[in-house]
């Protein structure tokens, strides 16, 4: 089953690069949804060697349901509410973003080597790809202006953390998995409300123009 896992990892890398390359917010939302589906599939592919536990199925299905359906729906509503279709003039351009992404990907494979050697995790690409996803998310948060795109960056990062988490899904109790999922759901919901309020107050959601408070 490791071939399937590797293929899914490859898909994850591609969604990250697409995330870095696209200016349309709708595409980025779709990307995050695809990542959630990949995440659910990875959960299955990793546990396929043993009998699939009921808990694993519940976690995988609820991950896809929450991150693949509910969150994109919330985000699309926020997008329409704020009236933005594109991220215009990011701090780092799209071509350079992809280049930086490629460099980061290489770097992740180098950094992950000492950790990989001592790990007992299932697939060899798991750790570097998880790291790359986290770094992609962080990069999007710092290089984009719109509050909504930053939420997408946060979700990408969260997905990366979860890729790491699912490799240990056998050890993690159901309650914690569900708790994490609930936190992400409520988190995006609250962020959506704040974005809505920011948009009403300022008539834009450019976070670089939220700069009154400083020393």
């Amino acid at each position: 089953m490791s071939i399937l896992t590797d293929l899914l990892m490859m898909l994850l890398v591609l969604t990250n690069l697409r995330m870095l390359a696209s200016s349309r917010v709708a595409v980025c939302i779709q990307n995050v949804a695809i990542q959630a589906v990949v995440l659910g599939a990875i959960t299955f592919s990793l546990s396929a060697h043993a009998a699939i536990a009921a808990g694993v199925i519940v976690v995988a299905i609820s991950t896809v349901a929450v991150k693949g359906l509910v969150l994109p729906w919330l985000l699309r509503r926020a997008m329409k509410g704020a009236g933005i279709g594109r991220e215009i003039e990011p701090f780092v351009g799209y071509a350079s973003s992809v280049l930086i992404g490629a460099v980061l990907l290489g770097l992740c494979f180098v950094i992950a080597r000492p950790l990989r050697d001592t790990s007992h995790a299932g697939a060899s690409m798991l750790i570097p790809v998880a790291m790359f996803t986290i770094l992609t998310g962080l990069f999007i948060i710092i290089s984009r202006r719109k509050a909504l795109t930053q939420v997408l960056g946060y979700l990408t990062m969260e997905n990366g953390v979860c890729v790491f988490g699912v490799s240990l899904a056998v050890e993690e109790p159901l309650l914690v998995e569900m708790g994490i999922l609930l936190d992400v759901l409520v988190g995006v919901f609250v962020m959506g409300i704040v974005i809505h309020q920011i948009n009403r107050e300022f008539d834009h959601i450019d976070t670089d123009r939220l700069s009154v408070l400083k020393d």
Binding site: A121, I134, L168, L175, V176, L182, V190, E201, T207, D215
Partner: protein
């Protein structure tokens, strides 16, 4: 039974959000705070449970300490809230600084979130499972965000956005750290219970553990306000209502600190206490220095108090990192800091309500306009800078003694230098506000609800400086001992 400290405020919080309890909201808030405090008092009077290696929730020594602090502080804040919220009932208000009109958040959302905030912080204190602890800490961020944007205007929304995004990203890194600990323990330990982990820590993979602790200190350190990840803190503390600032500073930062302490427990059990302790001391000293720099030229008194929180979180990190006597000092310091800062933020709320400005240089003559508030402000200044006879004098001295005993001369010198700079900056800024001639048109009303809670907290801090009961010392030593001396 232990779950009651989560359920009481959670049920009350959800009930308050429903529209039909409109009149009773404030009564429910106070009742839940009293109920929580009595439940905590009852739990604290009973002996601690044994370190059960399967329990999800249980009370150990550090958790008990922080739970008690949170409960007492919340009771004071809830009492203060009764009067404060009655004044804010009128939903359209004029901004004190820029003079525009804004609308408040609906009252039921604010009070409900306040109670849920207490519930999530209590859950943090009693979680024995690292995953559950993380879920609870992230939940505190989410329910406290609406508290910061109670006054819906551009500055509070900016502060709320920064708080939400920076803390959520930071906490996500802490989750990665927790997964790293799980990876380190694969095949050695089953589950993520803190006692199971510390028992098996010696056999865990040190490379993974070190990486895990770095992620934990970045993640929980962000929430705790350690420099250089403290950027959200002054904004959120200065823009939220004062009673929320008091809770953020006195209770929420402690919860993040507790998360970090859980990591330190695993590290010192694994024999890596020197590595993790060193990191804590390094970030602690950096926080003190950064706070000192930003306090020198500060002109906003709520931001001044916020930077003071950065400083004191630094002191806690140093104490916990050094271990031994300094760790006991840090536990005492956590108690002192929570009550002193809670008191000062409540007093700052009174100043803001009467003088309608947060600018230090525009507030003069508080002793003549608001005599009790003025006295509390000057007393609070002495308490927060560690002057005798207040509690912080003892705790700061204990940490210094611990540092010197352990032979950490450089740490001791930097620590003292930062404390001195901070004392001078605060002495230049805070006491002059109490003296001098007040500006005209200051309403000179000091209702009981506005001065009694900070006065009570101030008396506790004063008592802590004169006499620390033996039972409290034992509790502090037990809490410090649980972290593990290194």
């Amino acid at each position: 039974m232990l779950l009651a400290v989560v359920l009481i405020p959670a049920v009350a919080g959800l009930a308050v959000m429903a529209p039909f309890v409109k009149r009773l909201r404030l009564a429910v808030l106070l009742l839940a705070a009293v109920g929580h405090a009595s439940a905590v008092a009852w739990i604290c009077s009973r002996p601690l449970a044994d370190n059960n290696a399967d329990a999800w929730i249980a009370l150990d020594a550090p958790g008990r300490l922080f739970l008690a602090i949170t409960s007492i502080l919340f009771l004071a804040a809830a009492t203060y809230a009764i009067g404060y919220l009655r004044n804010e009932e009128n939903r359209t208000t004029k901004d004190a600084e820029e003079g525009f009109l804004f609308r408040n958040e609906p009252m039921n959302i604010f009070i409900g979130c306040l109670l849920l905030f207490l519930a999530t912080m209590s859950l943090v204190c009693i979680s024995q499972h690292l995953g559950l602890l993380w879920v609870a800490v992230e939940a505190t961020t989410l329910v406290s965000a609406p508290l910061i944007s109670f006054h819906r205007h551009h500055r509070s929304l900016e502060a709320t956005w920064k708080y939400l995004l920076i803390c959520s990203v930071g906490i996500a890194l802490a989750l990665l750290g927790i997964f790293f600990i799980a990876a380190a323990g694969q095949g050695v330990v089953h589950g993520m219970n803190i006692h199971a982990l510390t028992k098996a820590a010696g056999k865990m993979d040190p490379v993974w553990l070190k990486a895990a602790f770095i992620l934990l200190i970045v993640g929980y350190g962000t929430k705790m306000g350690l420099a250089p990840m403290h950027n959200w803190l002054p904004d959120a503390h200065s823009e939220s209502p004062s009673l929320v600032s008091a809770l953020l500073s006195g209770a929420l930062l402690n919860c993040a600190f507790l998360g970090l302490l859980r990591g330190q427990m695993v590290m010192s059990a694994a024999g890596l206490g020197e590595f993790s302790g060193g990191l804590l001391v390094l970030l602690g000293l950096l926080s003190m220095i950064v706070a000192a720099v930003f306090m020198i030229r500060q002109s906003d008194y709520k931001r001044l108090l916020a930077y003071s929180s950065v400083e004191h979180m630094g002191i806690l990190a140093i104490g916990a990192g050094l271990g031994g006597l300094a760790a006991t000092g840090a536990m005492l310091h956590a108690v002192n800091h929570s009550f002193t800062k809670g008191m000062l933020f409540l007093v700052a709320g009174n100043l803001l309500a009467a003088h309608r400005t947060k600018n230090i240089h525009e507030v003069r003559g508080v002793l003549t306009t608001l005599p009790i508030t003025g006295c509390l402000w000057v007393g609070g200044f002495l308490a927060i800078t560690g002057a005798p006879p207040f509690g912080m004098f003892i705790s700061e001295l204990t940490i210094l003694k611990g540092a010197l005993q352990g032979g950490h001369i450089v740490v001791g010198v930097v620590y003292l230098a930062a404390l001195a700079v901070i004392f001078i900056s605060m002495a230049r800024l805070m006491p002059p506000m109490a003296f001098g001639i007040p500006a005209a048109q200051i309403k000179t009303k000091e209702p009981l609800w506005a001065v009694a809670p900070p006065l009570a907290l101030g008396l506790v801090v004063l008592t802590m400086g004169l006499y620390v009961p033996e039972s409290l010392w034992n509790a502090l030593r037990a809490a410090a001992g649980a972290i593990g001396a290194n």
